[in-house]
């Protein structure tokens, strides 16, 4: 059990560090009162607005208030919209979750089989094609991939809408874009971890006792190769969550990322803090989940406890 508590402690530090950083960064420049008031506000107007927003307090007071209420899920009221910031973020969360989730599934569904194929048929044309695709994939800026998908499937072929939110058709292009962001590295890792497993004695034994190639690869191989892969995918969640910001912006997808970008340009402190805090929490929860999946997959880790 010590491993899990150690991890939890580590993640708590991460979340605290991230929120502190955001808190400091947000207050380095820019006065939200000035951003919100229309026209030429008088000094009195500014003072009043600052008081109302709570930004007239010393930083330390603001920070302590912030941390203590953050862990109650209370980030205050959005400057821009006048409603509860946490509520705003949670409203947008399903859209982001749908996008990140389908992208992760898409990437895993394409990249892992391709990586395994490349490893099993190492040195053949299959391997070459997969590796060339992966190298090109790693060179493509994913936001440009999104633009190209819009251009081809949205503007030219008119198969899918170029943006917005609605049915599954709206989800296809954004999640393909986001999947493209992590597919290449996932395929490479799937290939190299499978290659490592393929060279093991137990694989040869399994083949020698007459099991078919696909049984050996999928049962003996994949189960062992899955451990580094799952850690990797857990860490990729960080990239995915960051990537959603960009993809949501391109496709006009009404998720947390777009909310965050808007909030940043308006210096809407409560929303920025709520969004980063909640995204960091999700990332941490996913990685704790990954830790738990490990123990199911790998008895060696399970028995350490």
């Amino acid at each position: 059990m010590t491993r899990l508590t150690q991890r939890l402690f580590h993640f708590a530090i991460v979340i605290l560090g991230v929120t502190t950083l955001v808190f400091i960064a947000l207050r380095m420049t820019g006065d939200p009162a000035l951003m919100l008031l229309p026209g030429d506000p008088t000094p009195e107007d500014i003072m009043l607005a600052r008081q109302k927003l709570g930004v007239d307090q010393p930083w330390l007071t603001q920070y302590i208030t912030f941390i203590s209420s953050a862990f109650r899920g209370d980030f205050g009221v959005s400057f821009q919209h006048g409603v509860d910031a946490t509520g705003l973020v949670f409203e947008r969360l399903p859209a982001t979750a749908a996008l990140a989730g389908s992208a992760l599934l898409l990437a895993a569904a394409f990249a892992i089989p391709l990586g395994i194929l490349a490893a099993v048929y190492r040195g053949t044309v299959i391997d070459l094609i997969v590796m060339v695709l992966a190298v090109i994939g790693q060179g493509v800026p994913f936001f440009w991939l999104g633009l190209m998908l819009i251009l081809i499937f949205g503007v030219e072929l008119r198969w899918f809408p170029t943006g917005g939110y609605g049915g599954w058709q709206h989800l296809i292009l954004p999640s393909l874009t986001l999947a493209g962001y992590i597919a290449a590295s996932t395929a490479r890792l799937a290939r190299s971890s499978m290659l490592e497993v393929l060279g093991r004695d137990y694989m040869r034994t399994a083949r020698a006792k007459g099991l078919a190639l696909h049984v050996v690869v999928l049962k003996h191989g994949l189960r062992n190769a899955a451990i580094p892969l799952i850690t990797f995918l857990g860490l990729q969640m960080g990239l995915l969550l960051g990537g959603t910001v960009v993809v949501e912006e391109i496709f006009g997808w009404p998720g947390v990322g777009r909310l965050l970008l808007q909030a940043i340009s308006y210096r809407d402190y409560p929303v920025v803090q709520a969004a980063t805090f909640i995204l960091a929490m999700i990332f941490v929860l996913v990685n704790i989940l990954v830790d738990l999946i490990y123990t199911v997959l790998d008895p060696r880790i399970r028995d350490q406890r």
């Binding site: 991460v14 820019g30 936001f143 633009l147 190209m148 910001v245 995204l279 960091a280």
Partner: protein
């Protein structure tokens, strides 16, 4: 000749055999093409004012959104067409190279200096230094970096040095992690132990005996890192958080062109292709260098 203290790594194969000579040459061939392409890109960047047919900011408002010259309606003076303000896309591509490459290089160098130093210290002294450095790396790796970058730049304002610092903050961990591991290994080698037994000071051991053996690896990491940083820079510029107009950058270009995607495919296609080509060949160069400089990494 003075005796060499630093042993040469036994990575150079036996050149006497004809077969291996050929293999070495073939391995070297892998970096010839990337180097040639990247040299061309650098040349374009350096000589952009001479090469570009137009000033990248000069507008031809009567010639807005003209397609590339080989397409009907294209103007032969604008090879790759014009953007929404009638600016020549080719010239803007040339000038864009002057921005993306230096920023990525500066960021990687900064990241390398920080990362190598911390990696050496933590790998050599271990103990407290090591646990602090590893914690820092862990924290950094366990947060969506782009969120951090967006937050910091959005707030500090999109200044060029902030952009470089943020990119460097992304890059140092890679250096630190790998250098730390290598220092562990090299620090245990007989010649390092011997140097210490002969009374070499700690800085001398670190800089004279360990560092030279790590540099090839650092070159490989650095090259592979530049590609990632070019993409990150263009992403931030695309979001309006990186390079600011009137400075031309490929990422910025794409964000402006985005609104005209229905009307003019060329405005979004070419800057992205430029990015793709540069990043692709930087990555290929990194892969090739890795094969040559560090055969142990080749399996991955």
């Amino acid at each position: 000749m003075t005796p060499r203290v630093v042993p040469i790594k036994p990575c150079a194969p036996d050149v006497s055999s004809e077969k291996t000579t050929f293999r070495v040459r073939r391995r070297h061939l892998k970096i010839v093409l990337p180097i040639a392409v990247l040299c061309a890109v650098v040349a374009v960047a350096v000589f952009a004012p001479a090469l570009a047919p137009f000033d990248p900011t000069s507008q031809h408002l009567s010639l807005r959104l003209r397609p590339p010259s080989w397409i009907k309606g294209g103007d032969p003076r604008f090879l790759l067409g014009t953007d929404h303000l009638g600016r020549d896309i080719l010239s803007r591509l040339y000038y864009g190279a002057r921005v993306s490459l230096p920023i990525a290089l500066a960021a990687t160098t900064t990241g390398a200096l920080i990362g190598i130093t911390l990696g050496l210290l933590s790998g050599y002294f271990r103990g407290v230094v090591d646990s602090i450095v590893t914690k820092l790396i862990d924290i950094q790796l366990s947060f969506p970096f782009i969120l951090f970058a967006i937050a910091v730049i959005a707030i500090s304002g999109p200044k060029l040095y902030m952009l470089v610092l943020v990119l460097a903050a992304r890059s140092w961990t890679t250096f630190a992690r790998v250098v730390r591991g290598e220092t562990f290994v090299i620090g245990g080698n007989d010649y390092v132990v011997a140097a210490r037994a002969l009374g070499a000071s700690q800085p001398r051991v670190i800089f004279r005996h360990i560092l030279p053996n790590i540099l090839p690896l650092a070159v490989v990491i650095g090259t592979l890192d530049i590609g990632a940083l070019i993409i990150l820079e263009s992403t931030l510029s695309f979001l309006g958080l990186g390079v600011q107009p009137p400075t031309v950058s490929w990422g910025r270009e794409l964000s402006e062109a985005r609104q005209y995607i229905q009307l003019a495919w060329w405005t979004t296609t070419f800057p992205g292709l430029a990015l793709l080509v540069v990043v692709l060949f930087v990555n290929l160069l990194g892969d090739g260098l890795r094969d040559i400089l560090d055969p142990r990494l080749r399996a991955r």
